[in-house]
Symmetry: D2
Subunit: 359 residues, 4 copies
């Protein structure tokens, strides 16, 4: 209890103690931490090497069965800045998924949304709500929120792809639902493969009378590499280098193919200085083709096919290629845009390299 | 002036006369005419034969120069029900446009929107705001409201296409602006042909950072036949016959490629009974490929390639093909949808044919 | 038939005749008429005097019963430029409606949308889909497209209001439906009067879980004069004179209260030069309070309470008040905006008066 | 290094160690934790007593100056389940802010959005971008993302209000910007107080030509209690009890007044069983008037004026009043809705009380 002859300091200490007792906290002692001048992400820039990841995935393929419970043989990238959480950033989860010959990953659904970007192997399909979506290298396959999905490898070779999920964001929003009790472990196929492509894959054309789809969810679930490659070639021809960037969209709205995950493809050619950009929100880059390097907040990361790296929120990032290179990326940009929080800033000069990644 | 011993009839007559003097009219004597139970269009179902139109267009090609003032060698379809107005329906203007070898139609712009659907010839381009849009048979080319456009035939053959405009609707809205004073009669080209395709023609992909475009206007201006054909083939494979229908869309929104003109393509294969549909709003059909017939409010119209016919508002229409057939159509459906006035009704049985078109 | 020695003129005449035979018309002879440089409305500026209209309405009240068939004792304003059509402009229908003591106008519904703006009388209500909407002077009452509505005067005084409909536009679009067969001639009331106000009349507040309403249609059907007056007073206090303008909106979207009719209220105070504005689209102004004059394309119209006047499309219009004045207006602006056709131009100087209205 | 005679278990352990070394983690060992069947929020239901909070706030008023650096004398509610973080839930920050007589809290701006709900005192204003917004008990005042704001108490009494921010969500998205360097510590006022109300506070009326505002941000910044009270009275009259709920909206769009914070007001009257509802997303309730209790996941919380309590995501919550009661609430529902993650479930029967809050 406070008395008249207590010092202010003592009375304050007592006040803070009393606050703590009733689960209250003063704002004024922590304003600067809660409200930095610009975003201070705990996530750090980092790169995961394909050779390392592939070897680990292969060992997991030998030792771990795929099945109900564990659900997927996915190995998550854990940002060293995030205290052991299996997240690439505060909002994005990324992983290498390995499916051995003649294996299947069982059917389930969840409120987090997921994308697959194929790195190795051919002849696998992901069945999404009854539609078998074929997967070839460079293809992007969507499994929207709450859609049933299982993965099937009917070939004699393993298949490896990148998994990108909005899981950390959905966890932060306390909105994860998971349903592991499908009608069957592997979905029955409804008709021939790639139905979503046949109906919604037209270029500038949609069915006159659209089947009603879920608002915010693309009814097109496969984006084949051939189309992506052609679009990049055209845009590069029109705009010139050193870098052109496209986003994968829902053809029925022109908005992001996923409501909570931005999917992008960047083609970089040698030449010309890169322009560093800061953006609110984070991104995972997956090198699909080519070699080069990126400078992220002054740290240089050299990359080669299959490598993956993260650009945290508001980190300055610039990319340069040694040869024509294609980088796939997932971001949380649609989330930030939907909430009025997206910002970007183009720096006026390339960054100085202050360190090199030695991961 | 009315007096006490006038009959009610006399007094009413006097009242109506006095109303007319001050530019007023009673509603109650004309309610039924103004408000019919269902739409009663003055436009009648009609068909124009390709052989007739082509011959007329060729004669015009010999006799009439293309140039400033007349602006275009376009021959409009005039619905016999519309009292001599050069309109296909109350909202749609349709024409055959003929451009001879090495002719150009000069640059202008107007608030009405226009589409071109190519019927004969190859190697022509329409320049839209500096972008040369190549035209091949079956291609759809847009010239959005207030965009500069000129047509250029650098070949030794004539070119014929269908012109579809929203002109009657824009006239009804007293909103026509026309600007015949371009910087030059033929636009300077900005870079290589088909820029809009290179930037916005990706399948499920758009530039990451879109150039700002005019709201409601597609930045994609060419929809090549090869893409249309592929999309119809896919949709037919998925949904089966006898008819599948697609709409041309703005890839940045998924909405109608033109804000005031619906552009559709219908593929019809033999077999199965047609289902008659009534819709608010009118449509001009252009037979691109195949033969068959349509029944419109009980009247049978047999059609062959190049023929054009009109389905007036709320007329029951059904289509049957003798062989795989493709029908392009322009409609006013986006207008009716934007205003909350679109309705459709599927009839339960094919119509009885009560007459045959002998136009 | 053409022969070699025919002149070009003869051959052209023959061609035009052959075109007419097959219901075709050359564009090039009529380009300028179809596409004027700026909108050339057939509608002319005009003013209808309240004293004249009221007297005519009263006589109609004596001579014409209200009932099924004629449906409404509404006397339409017929623009002298529109060849005898009962329209104020190409898109708007306006009328004075007179409902005598203890009369009812029977229940019906139609696809055209209507608004009522009350000029004289009190204690009447319009029942809209079962909700009795009370009507006092200065109130705006909506009857959205296809809503059941009947009018009821349970008082000993006549009631007069202005009716504004989109009827000419809906006729031009061949989309009029009319249903004169309600369950009963006068609707049963569902609960107390003014339900729409209780649910949707909050200021900045809406029910947490909205009842699903028809897209594009306001679920709020009454806009009382007291609210309108207060809003104008506030806006004038903030922005100053000589004129402030507000639009009536759907509180669930902030868009026009009617999808096809713009409803506006203008308060004008003496002082300061008026700024002439041209707009695509037409407007009917109804003087609710005050006196002043408007100059429309150089013609001066003096106005007093109850007078109504029309500003055709693209006519320059400016307004000046002798005393604080309130002008209600209906327009077709939402139609033009929805179709990308709305334009406006502010002139740099007041117009010279070239004539005076002597209607 | 693995050898042939290692057991699977040993090899797995080695694999997991190697993964950790390269910052990777197996998904299959943590699937259930990452993806629970329904949301498992770390936040717990909790209630903070007004008497406690008020006493603490008063003591802070004596001991702590308001000024640059600490910025605000706000005392945050810290959910006991959130490991010492000063958050009410994963997405919401709530606090009691105390401003003594003749004190001002200095001008700053930040990307997190904030609302104020006034509990005690009168005559204070918050200046938002130059507009002084007066604050009375029951008023809601908005300070949208990145708007300058300072608080000013020119009276002889203290003022206490509830602060609600989206801060935890914006931190989770790594998107906090803070700008403590305004042109002056206290903003110059632009004209009379409450400008936003004069322009955007009309009921069903907006300025004809809107000033361009920031997309997603309401240009109306004050929602006076008198309007809220009237709206609740009307809705309760129409819908009946025991509970009616309204949301505060942006009058230009009908959407949530804040893009990232749902603001709600609930009126509860005695009688009738409460219906428990689960919702994704959390809510802070602030008792403005009345007494009653809420049952949250089986735990009973009795409440009185000024008390605040939290309903975590997917907790079943029901409310009952002893007398007519008004509860203000802030939620993250607009965030969940914008991302396609909003779900709700109405339980079929009231919950059994399994414990009582003894906080």
């Amino acid at each position: 209890m406070s008395t008249d002859d207590q010092s202010i300091g003592e009375r304050l200490e007592e006040l803070y103690g009393d606050m703590a007792d009733v689960h209250m906290q003063p704002l004024w002692t922590q304003t600067a931490d809660l409200m930095p001048r610009t975003p201070k992400s705990a996530a750090v820039p980092w790169l995961w090497r394909w050779s390392t990841m592939r070897a680990i995935a292969e060992r997991a393929g030998e030792l771990v069965a795929v099945g109900r419970g564990g659900e997927r043989r996915a190995i998550a990238l854990a940002n060293p800045g995030l205290s052991g959480k299996p997240y690439v950033s505060n909002t994005l989860w990324g992983a290498v998924q390995y499916l051995g010959p003649h294996e299947s990953a069982p059917n389930h659904r969840h409120s987090p949304s997921a994308i697959r970007f194929v790195l190795e192997g051919d002849g696998v399909w992901t069945t999404v709500n009854g539609d078998a979506c074929d997967m070839h290298p460079g293809d992007l396959v969507l499994t929207p929120s709450w859609s049933w999905h299982d993965h099937n490898n009917n070939t004699d070779q393993p298949m490896i792809w990148f998994d990108g999920l909005d899981l950390p964001a959905v966890i932060a929003l306390d909105a994860v639902f998971f349903d592991p009790e499908p009608p069957s472990d592997i979905q029955q196929l409804e008709g021939a493969h790639n139905k979503s492509t046949r109906v919604y894959g037209g270029r500038g054309l949609l069915p006159l009378d659209d089947v009603v789809t879920t608002p915010g969810q693309s009814p097109l679930w496969v984006y084949p590499w051939a189309d992506t490659d052609a679009a990049l070639t055209n845009l590069l021809a029109e705009r010139g280098g050193p870098m052109v960037s496209m986003r994968f969209v829902d053809p029925t709205t022109g908005r992001s193919a996923m409501q909570t995950i931005g999917c992008e493809m960047h083609r970089i050619v040698p030449g010309g200085p890169a322009i560093p950009v800061r953006r609110t929100g984070s991104a995972i880059y997956v090198v699909y083709r080519g070699t080069g390097h990126s400078i992220i907040d002054g740290q240089r990361f050299d990359w080669a096919p299959g490598d993956m790296f993260v650009v945290p929120s508001w980190a300055a990032a610039e990319h340069q290629a040694n040869e024509p290179s294609d980088l796939f990326a997932v971001t949380d940009r649609p989330v930030l845009e939907a909430l009025g929080l997206y910002q970007e800033e183009r720096l006026t000069a390339p960054q100085e390299v202050t360190s090199r990644f030695a991961g």
